[in-house]
């Protein structure tokens, strides 16, 4: 299985320093752009299926001061757009359902999608919460033709999450991105090598990533409205008008870009801690909190498709004296019970019962991908526990984390639960 690579793009830096003309890529270069359709709305619809087919706006109540974070396609028909003030949206479509954003929930679903994407390419770049580029160059022999791969991936995302997305497949990131935009919603568009210019030519220049209102207006003054018209201009002339940005415009009109995939390391650890409202020394209270923190951390671990080998307990006493103690497990695990037992043992062994505790924390490190090697002992019990964890996670995704818990964390007072 390819390693889950989280990536960061150079977009910021290249925008600041206009790039030199890009050397044409090899013809087999192949980039897939995945863009979730109305992501926040789609996630909310998983929990509120009765709202399907209705205009839905995520961002807040219509009388609030915020802006639209996402709008369903039904709402867009009324002219509602992202970043529009909520009041304006309410005026355009009074019957729309307005929902508060639940960002953490969207991030969890984003992680889950990232985990699916990671199985299709060793190089996955999540450029935002709902958008990713996959480098499919060179994966053909392993996975099959890119178009078929993209199709399979789209089906898998749909069947495993119930979230719709659109995809663009092309020789460069720019072409892939423009293609996915054109494919929306729920579409897949492939621009074969050589067809880039023809595909881009009729589009308005504003569709090219990096061309904003200012450039659009400047181009309009030159009589350039479509990408085709831009591509017809000689490079030198564009450079005279726009300087180095002109060089970039010239190559972008041809579908060329200079983005590179930049690999960020995977998470090195996953941790949760809690500061008590009032300092605590009751062991049952500490154990209950420890249980909750372990469950939360383990859920995130599983969502990222990882296992942990090392459990670290942090205790900060009332006087701010802080200790951390760690234990290495005999083998990596994704099971709550194993990690919780280790954390409990650390707590029992290392806590000074004479002092009150201000903060308690659990951190998981030594993160690895599950081994494809099956275990000889206990295989059935492990498989059952694994299924239990998966089912628990699915219920939590649907009804909220607190709805399914191990009994150990149930006797926490309301204040300390969040």
């Amino acid at each position: 299985m390819p390693r889950l690579a989280r990536l960061r793009s150079k977009i910021g830096s290249t925008a600041a320093v206009p790039p030199a003309p890009a050397a044409p890529r090899l013809s087999e270069a192949c980039i897939l752009h995945v863009d979730m359709d109305a992501f926040f709305v789609s996630v909310e619809l998983l929990y509120r299926p009765e709202l399907r087919g209705k205009p839905v706006v995520v961002g807040g109540r219509p009388d609030q001061r915020g802006v639209v974070a996402a709008a369903s396609y039904e709402a867009r028909r009324f002219g509602i757009r992202s970043a529009m003030p909520l009041r304006t949206a309410a005026r355009l479509c009074p019957q729309a359902v307005f929902l508060e954003g639940r960002h953490q929930l969207y991030e969890e679903w984003s992680d889950r999608i990232a985990a699916i994407l990671a199985r299709y390419s060793p190089v996955v770049e999540m450029v935002s919460i709902d958008e990713a580029y996959l480098e499919l160059t060179g994966t053909e022999r392993l996975l099959g033709p890119p178009l078929a791969v993209a199709h399979r991936l789209r089906q898998e995302i749909w069947s495993r999450t119930g979230l719709p997305c659109s995809m663009g497949l092309g020789r460069t990131r720019l072409v892939a991105k423009v293609a996915s935009e054109q494919a929306k919603p729920r579409g897949l568009l492939w621009i074969p090598p050589g067809a880039e210019a023809a595909f881009l030519a009729p589009l308005p220049v504003g569709k090219i990533p990096g061309i904003g209102r200012v450039t659009e207006a400047a181009l309009a003054r030159l009589g350039i409205r479509t990408v085709g018209e831009l591509a017809a201009w000689p490079r030198e002339k564009l450079e005279t008008v726009f300087g180095r940005w002109g060089t970039a415009l010239w190559s972008r009109a041809r579908g060329e870009d200079v983005f590179e995939f930049l690999v960020d390391a995977e998470p090195k650890s996953i941790g949760h801690n809690h500061t008590f409202g009032t300092d605590v020394d009751a062991p049952e209270m500490l154990e209950a909190m420890l249980s909750l923190l372990c469950q939360k951390a383990m859920k995130r671990l599983r969502d990222a498709g990882l296992q942990t080998r090392t459990v670290t307990l942090t205790i900060r006493y009332a006087d701010f004296h802080t200790i951390t103690r760690r234990r290495t497990l005999s083998e990596p695990t994704e099971l709550d019970s194993v990690v919780l037992a280790a954390a409990r043992q650390l707590l029992a062994r290392h806590r000074d019962p004479a002092q009150k505790v201000r903060l308690i924390g659990v951190s998981l490190s030594g993160l690895t991908h599950p081994s494809p090697q099956l275990p000889l002992f206990d295989a059935e019990r492990r498989a059952r526990l694994h299924r239990l964890a998966r089912a628990t996670d699915r219920l939590r995704d649907r009804f909220g984390f607190e709805k399914v818990q191990w009994a150990g964390s149930l006797n926490l007072p309301e204040d300390d639960r969040s």
Binding site: L329, Q373, L376
Partner: protein, 387 residues
């Protein structure tokens, strides 16, 4: 200098001589136990004890100890310690002559051979760890049999130190037989032999969990002599094995529960294939060149009368070989199953001739074993990989 040390000096004025060839043989044997990288200096030393016509040599790493001896002309009884590795390297280079040892003040040990004189830095012998005394002999185990059992199981021991109870092999002695079993949680090697023990002391089953290092020493110490036997006994925490040549190995046992291995022995592996172990190993070694570096996975596709071995690595490419096989069961449905290639090669390294591969499905343990069983019944259980 404190008075205690002074006293020991005067009473321990050891002096003896011995033949180079005798000493070299015992020193070499003792070397296996000595820790190279120890933080306790005395553990890198060998304890020399001269007493009535013989020299006893002792080395230990606290977990494992070896006591051996050779003939010597003892002028003054006594004892001393010297760095074991240094002494061995020096003795090796000396001519095949008589070598004289003499303990001197401040734990120095003088070594003289012909007109060559050396002085080695010793340590107070009082600091050398005391070894436990063996209880009466429990059983005499045929030496070759013991070595065979060890060789067929030791490789399956877990290498990860955190899996403590899997860091050794379980040895079971029964009045009518002997069993060795080792596992790392992914595969398991089980070797059993029938043997009528005539020792009256062995009345019931004896189970001991022996660490890997001790097992490797056992296989080194077993003499080539086919008929020799090893005297076996134990106390609560140790086993004591006395080999020919009066070499005694003492190993601290691992504590803890060895997993219930009998529960994982396959019972429904009805798809049986017979193949030559040499050809199989050679093909696996070639295909392994293109296996994924991290997972080391190879795919075995069993068809009616052939088996395809394949592997692929994103970096280097892919491999496929087809071998003719002999179906040995009625069940011949095609079955494709993945394994860590090293687990298969480990087994193939200790067997020869035709082997049986017994499978159930792609998720269940496979059993491999030689078709021809000599005096050992040998079963090797491997869990597959998801592919």
């Amino acid at each position: 200098m404190d008075p205690g040390t002074k006293k020991s000096q005067s009473s321990e004025a050891m002096e003896f001589s011995t033949k180079k060839i005798d000493l070299l043989e015992e020193l070499t044997a003792a070397q296996g136990v000595v820790e190279r990288k120890t933080t306790i200096p005395i553990l890198s030393h060998v304890l020399l004890e001269a007493d009535e016509g013989r020299l006893a040599l002792t080395t230990t790493d606290l977990e494992l100890s070896l006591r051996t001896q050779c003939a010597a002309q003892v002028k003054k009884q006594g004892s001393a310690t010297v760095p074991a590795k240094k002494l061995l390297d020096l003795i090796r280079l000396l001519p095949d002559e008589e070598i004289r040892f003499r303990a001197q003040e401040n734990f120095w040990v003088q070594v003289i051979c012909e007109r060559k004189t050396y002085r080695l830095v010793g340590l107070a012998k009082e600091n050398f760890p005391a070894l436990p005394e063996p209880p009466p002999v429990l059983a005499r185990v045929p030496a070759r049999l013991l070595a065979d059992l060890v060789v067929r199981t030791v490789f399956a021991i877990a290498s990860e130190e955190t899996r403590y109870t899997l860091n050794g092999a379980l040895l079971i002695l029964r009045p009518e037989g002997i069993t060795a079993v080792a596992t790392d949680g992914h595969r398991l090697a089980l070797a059993e032999a029938g043997h009528k023990f005539t020792d009256p002391a062995l009345r019931e089953e004896v189970r001991v969990l022996i660490p890997r290092k001790a097992l490797l020493e056992i296989s080194r110490l077993v003499p080539a002599d086919e008929d020799a036997s090893v005297e076996f006994t134990r106390d609560t925490n140790h086993i004591f094995l006395r080999f020919a040549g009066d070499r005694q190995l003492i190993a601290r046992l691992l504590t803890g529960q060895f997993p219930n291995y009998e529960a994982v022995l396959p019972r429904e592996n009805h798809r049986v294939t017979v193949i030559d172990s040499g050809e199989f190993a050679a093909a696996l070694r070639r295909v392994a060149q293109l296996a994924d570096l991290r997972s080391q996975a190879v795919k075995l596709a069993f068809r009616a009368d052939e088996m395809e071995i394949s592997a692929s690595s994103p970096e280097y490419g892919e491999a496929s070989e087809v071998l003719p096989v002999e179906p040995a069961s009625k069940v011949r449905d095609p079955l494709t199953i993945g394994f860590n290639v090293n687990y298969l090669l480990d087994f193939l390294g200790v067997v020869s001739g035709a082997i049986r591969i017994e499978l159930k499905d792609e998720q269940s343990a496979a059993e491999l074993r030689p078709v021809e069983e000599d005096r050992l019944r040998y079963r090797y259980i491997v869990m597959p990989m998801r592919i």
